[in-house]
């Protein structure tokens, strides 16, 4: 439908002429345009209205200009001592009913008292359908935030879309935020942060978040480091991590699942791809100030290093976490894994590269057979494992502690099987022990695990030694075996040997050096009094006979 002005141009011109005469009496500049009449507020004629003692409105010409001061406003826990609004309408477009406002003011907070006054300026255009925010600038101390966007459908189905940008914000207790840029959409049912990218103390972070159903909010949250980095580079980035959460807010807790993925959390080799994934299912979190009390029914940990993948499945997780600056502290860590319990305290420093994970923990009664499966051991180990140690991924060794395995057995360990064939003691092939104790160290730099001061206490058998195992399965260590002479004499050959050398001690010590690789160990019988006697009394033929029978036995083992 055409407008009246377009149907009758002469009437429209007459209308504009009369209007210009009226406005001219107010000394306003009038601009004719083909589609609308635009009045610019630049004249000096003033009017004044006092609505109440706090709100004072002035007019310049017939467009309002003024200042409102509102005192003691309370919104939930926030108390605003004084809210000042200086406003003027910059443009008034008659034909399209577009009004452009300019607001300027300051908000002075009474509570919380640490928030200092916030100055603001707002340029906005209001139409019947859209409120368009050209620029909302908030100034807090020396920092500023710029917001642009629009609010549409505010009469029926309101929807707000904003872009938020800030060059620098200092957040006390958390860090300095730089180059913040965010796109967010807010509707009646949903808040969607499409992307919130910023540098926290020069560390790039990205946040995506969707909150729906505001009555009992459902949250999907993802926090990633280096959000703009391409996947092939992310795989080698030691500072790369991703935290994801999906859950629902209930009356007094947030329930859902939490995932953490980091490429290099447990590896310091920047050239190799590795990852650590931790997923918590049936997670329940209660927040109190900066602390979180968390419980999870299931935890699945997966870490991949040197082409091997290790899994740890745990349940009944409980811990408290709280954030101080960029460090997350964990206290009262408690979880069940492999029929045992793990308890400890720790911290995760997000400022370090890779994130510094420190754990002081104890293991109680873990089924080592189940744990051994996860480590792909090529021998059978059974017993209840106890461990007390510290994990610190920023140190070498990253893991150190004391391990004790109680009442179990050790079967088909190749080194012991070879020694068993040499000594003709079958009980060394299956050692039923009362206790194994060892100091355990994990060296990520050399990619090796070290078992030091190993002691195996079993009936009639006592083993002592130390062993370094590299990620290439290379072995380096020593082993001392003490056996009762009576047990050794069960073998006819050894009985003869004892007779020849006249050995009368109640027990014998055998020392071995161990090298080679797991699966193909190299063992050397080291000098002891017994060995020297054997060397002295045994003929060359006798030695060759022992060696060849041992070689046959080893071939059978393979």
């Amino acid at each position: 439908m055409a407008s009246s002005s377009s149907r009758s141009p002469s009437k429209a011109l007459l209308f504009f002429f009369i209007a210009s005469l009226i406005l001219a009496s107010f000394n306003l500049p009038v601009i004719f345009a083909p589609q609308f009449l635009k009045i610019k507020n630049t004249i000096e004629k003033r009017g004044s209205f006092i609505l109440d003692k706090n709100v004072h409105i002035e007019t310049i010409g017939f467009l309002p200009y003024g200042e409102a001061v509102l005192n003691n406003i309370k919104i939930q826990d926030i108390e605003i001592e004084r809210l000042t609004i200086r406003f003027n309408i910059l443009e008034f477009l008659i034909h399209k009913k577009v009004e452009e406002f300019h607001l300027k003011g300051v908000v002075v907070f009474k509570k919380p008292d640490f928030i200092k006054p916030v100055k603001y300026t707002l340029n906005t255009i209001i139409t019947p359908d859209v409120i368009s925010i050209g620029n909302l600038c908030l100034n807090y101390e020396q920092y500023s935030i710029d917001i642009k966007g629009n609010i549409s459908g505010y009469s029926s189905d309101p929807r707000a879309e904003f872009n938020i940008a800030s060059k620098e914000i200092d957040t006390p207790g958390f860090g300095r935020i730089n180059n913040l840029y965010s796109e967010l959409v807010l509707s009646k049912d949903e808040l969607f942060i499409k992307g919130l990218n910023f540098f926290l103390d020069n560390f790039p972070l990205g946040v995506k978040c969707r909150v729906s159903d505001f009555k009992s909010p459902v949250v999907e949250l993802k926090i990633i480091s280096y959000p703009g980095q391409i996947p092939s580079l992310r795989a080698f980035n030691p500072m790369n991590f991703e935290i994801s959460f999906s859950g629902k807010k209930t009356e007094n807790a947030i329930k859902g699942s939490l995932g953490l993925e980091s490429q290099k959390l447990l590896s310091v080799d920047p050239r190799k791809i590795s990852y650590t994934r931790i997923k918590m299912e049936d997670l329940s979190c209660v927040f109190f100030n900066k602390a979180i009390f968390a419980e999870a029914k299931d935890i699945i940990c997966e870490t991949n290093a040197s082409k091997n993948t290790f899994y740890l499945n745990a349940s009944d997780f409980k811990a408290s976490a709280y954030l101080i600056k960029s460090r997350i502290y964990l206290t009262g860590l408690n979880l069940l894994a492999y029929k045992g319990a793990i308890k400890g305290n720790g911290s995760l420093d997000l400022k370090q590269s890779p994130a510094g994970l420190l754990l002081d923990f104890k293991v109680y009664g873990m089924d080592i057979a189940e744990f051994a499966k996860a480590l792909y051991l090529n021998y059978e180990l059974k017993g209840d494992m106890y461990f007390s140690g510290v994990f610190n991924n920023r140190q070498d060794p990253c893991l150190s502690g004391r391990m004790v395995v109680k009442e179990g057995y050790l079967k088909n360990m190749q080194v012991l099987s070879m020694i068993s064939d040499f000594l003709n003691v079958p009980s060394l092939k299956s050692v039923y022990f009362d206790q194994i104790s060892a100091l355990v160290y994990l060296f990520p730099r050399n990619k090796e695990v070290m078992f030091d001061k190993v002691t195996v206490s079993a009936k009639d058998i006592n083993l002592k030694g130390s062993m370094k195992i590299k990620s290439t399965k290379k072995l380096n260590g020593n082993l001392s075996v003490r056996l009762p002479t009576a047990l050794l004499k069960e073998s006819f050959k050894l009985k003869l040997l004892f007779f020849i050398i006249g050995e009368k001690l109640g027990y014998q010590d055998f020392e071995f050096e161990i090298g080679g690789f797991a699966g193909s160990p190299q063992i050397k019988w080291l000098s002891t009094r017994f060995r020297e006697n054997v060397m002295k009394y045994l003929t060359e033929g006798g030695k060759k006979s022992i060696e060849s029978s041992l070689e046959k036995a080893i071939k059978q083992l393979l």
């Binding site: 040499f422 190299q522 063992i523």
Partner: protein, 182 residues
């Protein structure tokens, strides 16, 4: 009856001819091998190479073929024709897995890759695989510091390999050729 006798005589005759040919073939391989070794002793390795090559080409199933294969590879090594040497030693290890010379062929491969200034990625990988292979069998040293094995090649090189607890030494003509550590 007469026909049967004739048939019998024919079969016998045929088998005599074939076995004579077989003997002759075996004899030819041996003759070629002996000739090649003679050339080596006369310090004429190029002629020896021709004999070894023709033996390998004409009698690939002869027991002397694997010795010839190793000899050809050694010839390439001695003449610093490393690419050909790598191919030949690798082929020897692959074609004759039970060869006594196999372990020395691997030692040669390690030595060549060590001598190459900028080995390619494949060569580096080959080096690591062979190095690992040297320690792939269990060893138990009871009364000696090492376990020893020896081999004399068709090129008249004398090899010794000593398996220690933490390393392996390979000697060629009494000189340490290569030391392999874990």
């Amino acid at each position: 009856m007469r026909k049967i006798r004739h048939l019998f005589l024919f079969i016998v005759g045929l088998s005599v001819v074939f076995s004579a040919h077989g003997l002759c073939a075996g004899g030819d391989a041996r003759a070629r091998y002996n000739a090649a070794v003679r050339y080596i002793k006369l310090k004429q390795p190029d002629f020896a190479l021709m004999e070894f090559r023709s033996l390998l080409r004409e009698f690939p199933k002869s027991p002397l073929a694997q010795k010839s294969s190793f000899a050809i590879a050694e010839y390439y090594y001695d003449n610093k024709m490393y690419n050909d040497a790598i191919k030949s030693f690798t082929g020897h290890v692959k074609d004759y897995p039970d060869s006594k010379a196999g372990i020395f062929a691997k030692a040669y491969l390690l030595k060549i890759i060590e001598e190459i200034k900028d080995p390619a990625w494949e060569e580096k990988r080959l080096f690591e695989d062979i190095q690992k292979d040297f320690f792939s069998k269990p060893l138990f040293l009871l009364f000696k510091e090492y376990k020893e094995a020896s081999y004399k090649s068709p090129l008249q090189n004398k090899f010794k390999i000593r398996y220690y607890i933490d390393n392996i030494e390979v000697y060629r003509n009494g000189q340490l050729f290569i030391k392999i550590t874990q």
